[in-house]
């Protein structure tokens, strides 16, 4: 798949110390349906090459959609010129060890390839979902969407890198909004993104979830407001994954710790001395960077600098041991990192991103955790999120909650929220769900970087029980 790139590389003339060509070819279709009708069908075909050069220790980048010998040469010349001038203001001198010469390939594992489903079939499924969600006149709006991505990344370099990766990704969602009792309540699947194929759009497999979402939207209209106070709280995977993302993933990014992100996404409460010494969470907390778990959104063989992907623990038995930083951040900080330099497309340089950040399953069943709550709340499906720029003070809201009394679910609650501070929160972790409770979630829209980059991340997490969270309800 990289023959044309190698030809372009061989034809370049110039005296940069290193050059790499990274080609992204992505086709993403967003199809939506509402209230039993097709609503939108849009397809974005994005293809270009980022030319990366290293001159006297300075990387520079120039991107183009002109994938010809002349177009790539123009970018090479432009990037080499930018590197030469930026050298006067160089932050860190790199060499070509920051671009290993990996070779090989990767392809998403799918049951049914994306080219086996037509646009008409996708729309038919989405329309069917929105029709099934309409179980009452009180449901005033039903929606379904599928974000379908085929992505190919090819990379070659002057020091011998030659790899190619093909991704098949679908983010699916559906929702019902109910109106009654002077209130509106929206219940959804939650944006469910994974590497998978057309099997993700099989309505018959989703039938139980569709029925549940519709019924719970109605149920919320008659539900009590979530109470205010301290409660033991069972966070289900469709909420907990975003808690991991915001309060573990982002603060452990080495480029944040190094200050690159201070002006936009933010800094981190974690300092370099914390690795190996900070008790981030209770001893039950084990968090990994795992680029090898099949089906997660950010499963891959190489990051976008060509570093081979390997699983590493970031937090082991509650102790912080490793950061989320690619090879450039590792060389700058002398801290342990992972293969996580990633670019969202051909037109952006790689920066430290999350990949798959997972909570390792524990040994508690859902029933064990329910039984361990005398006075508690179970929260499902994220609907609101916010955290400060150091990743300390967070607040989350969910779509649906259940009250637990003496180990039994007693009622439904609406508008549940909780707030807290990162390390005290994770040290309240009391029980970790087992493999049976683990679910794979992910987001296609993790944003950071200057210029901005939205990238896909994965989070495989079990349900987890936390003691005495600060919980509250709606306005």
């Amino acid at each position: 798949m990289t023959t044309h790139l190698k030809d372009l590389l061989d034809q370049l003339s110039g005296d940069a110390d290193w050059v790499g060509l990274r080609e992204h070819a992505e086709i993403t279709c967003l199809r939506t349906a509402r209230n039993g009708n097709a609503y939108s069908n849009s397809t974005d075909r994005d293809k270009g090459i980022m030319v990366e050069v290293l001159v006297d220790g300075q990387f520079a980048y120039a991107g183009t959609t002109d994938i010809t010998r002349a177009g790539v040469q123009r970018c090479y010349d432009r990037a080499a010129g930018l590197a030469a001038l930026a050298n006067r203001y160089n932050l860190h001198k790199f060499d070509d060890t920051a671009r290993p010469a990996g070779s090989g390939g990767y392809r998403s594992a799918v049951a049914r390839p994306l080219d086996e489903i037509t646009p008409a079939e996708v729309q038919e499924s989405l329309i069917d979902i929105t029709s099934r969600l309409k179980i009452s006149d009180k449901i005033i709006e039903t929606q379904a969407s599928a974000l379908i991505t085929r992505l190919q990344v090819n990379f070659v370099s002057s020091n011998g890198a030659d790899w190619s990766q093909e991704f098949s990704i679908i983010t699916r969602d559906f929702a019902a909004t109910a109106q009654g009792n002077g209130d509106f309540q929206r219940r959804s699947l939650g944006m469910e993104g994974r590497q998978w194929g057309a099997e993700a759009l099989d309505v018959s497999v989703m039938a139980d979830d569709i029925a549940r979402v519709a019924e719970q939207a109605l149920e919320l209209l008659d539900a009590e407001e979530c109470p205010t106070g301290q409660f033991d709280t069972l966070l289900m995977p469709d909420q907990l994954y975003l808690q991991v993302h915001e309060s573990v993933g982002h603060p452990l990014e080495l480029d944040r710790i190094l200050g690159d992100e201070r002006n936009y996404a933010g800094w981190s409460f974690v300092s370099p001395e914390d690795f190996g010494s900070l008790q981030y969470g209770s001893p039950l907390l084990n968090i990994s960077f795992d680029p090898g778990l099949a089906g997660e959104m950010a499963t891959y063989r190489f990051d976008d600098t060509g570093v081979a992907a390997e699983k590493h623990f970031l937090i082991r038995n509650g102790l912080l041991v490793r950061g989320i930083g690619g090879i450039e951040s590792q060389q700058r900080s002398a801290l342990p990192g992972v293969s996580s330099s990633r670019a969202c497309s051909w037109n952006r340089p790689p920066i430290d991103r999350m990949g798959n950040i997972n909570i390792e399953p524990g040994d508690s069943s859902y029933e064990d955790m329910l039984a361990a709550m005398d006075r508690g709340i179970i929260m499902h499906t994220n609907r609101s999120w916010s955290i400060d720029d150091y990743r300390n003070k967070f607040q989350f809201g969910c779509e649906y909650a259940q009250q637990v009394e003496n180990g039994r679910i007693t009622k439904t609650l609406k508008n549940p929220n909780y707030r807290g501070i990162t390390t005290p929160f994770w040290n309240k972790l009391a029980m970790v769900g087992d493999l049976a409770s683990r679910e794979i979630w992910g987001s296609p829209y993790c944003g950071k970087g200057e210029p901005n980059q939205a990238i896909r991340v994965g989070h495989a997490v079990p349900a987890c029980l936390f003691r005495n969270l600060d919980v509250f309800g709606g306005a």
């Binding site: 990037a79 909004t177 955290i387 400060d388 720029d389 929220n417 807290g420």
Partner: protein, 448 residues
């Protein structure tokens, strides 16, 4: 370069329109940028990137069926002799898809919405070398992080009914923050169409003055309700969140809006508050993706009463309403809040005792249909007593409805509204922004 890009746009459209059947209508959007991005950390260059990208979006309608395909094209599309073939093949792919899709019951008939042309390409901007010298010179020895974005944006639209729009703007912004040894920070922004070293030096000097005031130990403010002054930058963050369904007529119909109480008249906002979509600011083209020109000024809230919500033609068709030519997302593109009477020199005196909030961070709806917003303070925020800055504060989380802070608790607006340009660059450099004043607000709720 503007003319070369425009020629590419026109020729692309001509080729595609020539290939249309009588039963087909085609709307073409063209978005291009030639951008230089220089990312700084510790007043050094962390990354330097040059990007030229040209995206053409084709919306094809055949009867009630439609779909859109977007594709990147090279500036040299017609130099290789393969341009026609590439475009015709792309149109054929789109045709194949449209024909197999079900009808769209709310499909709009394509119309000629007229012609417009606006070229604000102005003077040439400094090159990368000159920018590095000019930006880093005044901050020698200062810990600065930030992003320079400089270049030209092109926006075009044509459809097969004959409408034609073209918009060009060339500008730069330097979005930066400066830091003390104690990790205190002050945010700054310099945006213009012409770089003036004197203006930049003044902005840096002002930022460093603020940084000096940040050197005192942080005051830990307990959660509670406080009297606050919010700078135009902080109000700009609130306005940006309001764009997320806040002014959308479609969201109101779908039960996903914070406006039901304002729309029904159950609640009202302060008579001090008036805001409008105002394209006279010149930040963005006034035509939307359908090529519909929006009114130059559309009042949204007048003296606390809801006057209009942003209504796209699609929403209008579905709910049998009048369109006001909003874009698909029905988010403001160029919002303007009318200023008040509070003079800048009187801000601290009027605040008396409370919080001076310069910047906010990571806002989100915490109870969307009730208008409740959560978020954080960020950068240089201060505790003020008796009209004097006492100390910076440790960042606070707030959770409050706009019915409260733009209702009875809104006490004053500053006499000068400032333009807050959009500084986002997801996928491509974004255009747009808002013009907003600072606000003095009572009893604002901080929760953590």
């Amino acid at each position: 370069m503007s003319s070369a890009m425009e020629t590419l746009f026109q020729r692309t459209c001509d080729v595609l329109f020539a290939d249309l059947a009588e039963s087909e209508d085609l709307n073409i959007n063209f978005e291009a940028e030639e951008s230089l991005f220089i990312r700084f950390n510790k007043s050094k260059v962390r990354q330097i990137v040059d990007v030229t990208q040209i995206k053409v979006s084709l919306f094809l309608q055949i009867g009630k069926k439609n779909a859109e395909h977007s594709l990147q094209i090279p500036a040299t599309l017609f130099e290789t002799g393969e341009g026609h073939e590439f475009l015709n093949a792309s149109l054929n792919d789109l045709r194949d898809e449209v024909r197999q899709l079900p009808d769209d019951p709310f499909a709009l008939s394509m119309r000629n919405n007229g012609q417009s042309r606006e070229d604000m390409s102005g003077d040439a901007l400094p090159g990368a070398n000159e920018f590095c010298e000019q930006l880093l010179g005044p901050v020698a020895g200062v810990d600065l992080a930030g992003l320079l974005v400089s270049g030209t944006n092109y926006v075009g639209n044509r459809n097969s009914k004959g409408q034609a729009h073209w918009f060009v703007t060339r500008s730069f912004y330097f979005d930066y923050s400066v830091y003390s040894a104690k990790e205190k920070a002050v945010k700054g922004l310099y945006a213009d169409t012409r770089f003036d070293p004197g203006i930049y030096a003044g902005k840096i000097a002002a930022s460093l003055d603020y940084l000096d005031q940040m050197e005192k130990p942080n005051k830990v403010v307990a959660p509670g309700r406080y009297r606050c002054y919010f700078s135009p930058e902080a109000i700009g963050e609130i306005v940006e969140l309001m764009g997320w369904n806040g002014f959308s007529r479609g969201a109101l119909s779908r039960g996903n809006s914070p406006m039901p109480d304002l729309d029904s008249g159950n609640k009202s906002l302060s008579p001090l508050l008036s805001m409008a979509e105002d394209f006279s600011l010149g930040l963005v083209p006034s035509f939307n993706a359908l090529g519909e020109p929006a009114p130059e000024r559309l009042s949204l809230i007048s003296r606390g009463k809801l006057v209009n919500l942003l209504t796209s033609s699609r929403t209008a068709e579905e709910y049998r309403l009048e369109s006001n030519q909003a874009n698909d997302s029905e988010a403001p593109r160029s919002l303007s809040i009318e200023p008040g009477e509070l003079a800048e020199r009187d801000i601290l005196k009027a605040l008396d005792t409370g919080l001076y909030i310069s910047n906010l961070h990571y806002l989100n709806w915490s109870d969307a249909t009730k208008g409740r917003i959560t978020g954080m303070t960020r950068f240089a925020c201060f505790w003020v007593e008796n009209g004097e800055i006492v100390s910076p504060i440790q960042d606070l989380r707030f959770d409050e409805t706009f019915y409260n802070f733009w209702g009875d608790n809104l006490e004053a607006l500053t006499e000068v509204a400032e333009i807050q340009p959009t500084v986002l660059s997801y996928d491509q450099r974004a255009l747009g922004g808002a013009k907003v004043p600072g606000m003095l607000i009572n009893n604002f709720n901080f929760c953590l």
